[in-house]
Amino acid sequence: MIVEMLLFVVLLICCFLCLYRIARGPTVPDRVVAIDILGIVVVGFTALIAVETGKDFYMNIAIAWALISFLGTIALAKHLEGKSFDE
């Protein structure tokens, strides 16, 4: 029980470090990098909740989250490059 709480707290610290970088980041790419990392950390959260409860639809959420966060990163990167999405 205590071990699981500890794992959640460490992951929460990771999320707050990412949020700090999003708030402070001097340039736009810094913020986009932090958003990408935040998306991957949330997948870890969901996997831990899936183990806790033993329900497998949390893993479906993790897969969908990973793929959608990837799409968002690619779209933002294309925008930074100055192109439209279909190039």
Binding site: V3, L7, V10, L11, I13, C14, L17, C18, Y20, R21, T27, V28, P29, D30, V32, V33, A34, D36, I37, I40, V41, V43, G44, A47, L48, A50, V51, G54, D56, M59, N60, A62, I63, A66, L67, F70, T73, I74, L76, A77, K78, H79, L80, E81, G82
Partner: protein, 109 residues
């Protein structure tokens, strides 16, 4: 027994995540941050998902965790590559103590 081994593996993964996020804070420019964060967080999440598989065994949840791991291993470096290219094209300079920039030489030609 499986529970203990699984939680140790998950703990290692979470620690790697923490180091990746500290790297996100300490590194001086976008490219170094991208390096530290992408590598550590990808391996950290892989360890977490392997720990999940060790705990629950090969039931539907475990197989989905393995598929999720493959997706993350494929998509995360691709996203990092696209971000690095976009950052360079949008005109973010390298750190002032950087050694060389062959990519800029090519673009100015």
């Amino acid at each position: 027994m499986n529970n203990i081994i699984g939680y140790i593996i998950i703990g290692i993964g979470v620690l790697f995540n923490l180091f990746g996020c500290i790297g996100l804070l300490r590194m001086p420019d976008v490219y170094c941050r991208l390096q530290a964060a992408t590598k550590c967080v990808t391996l950290g999440i892989c360890f977490v998902l392997i720990g999940v598989v060790v705990i629950v065994g090969f039931n539907p949840l475990g197989v989905k965790a393995l598929i999720c791991m493959v997706f993350i291993l494929v998509t995360s470096p691709t996203g990092a590559h696209a971000l690095a290219r976009g950052a360079h094209k949008s005109g973010v300079k390298l750190w002032k103590k950087s050694v060389c920039d062959k990519y800029k030489d090519k673009e100015s030609k």
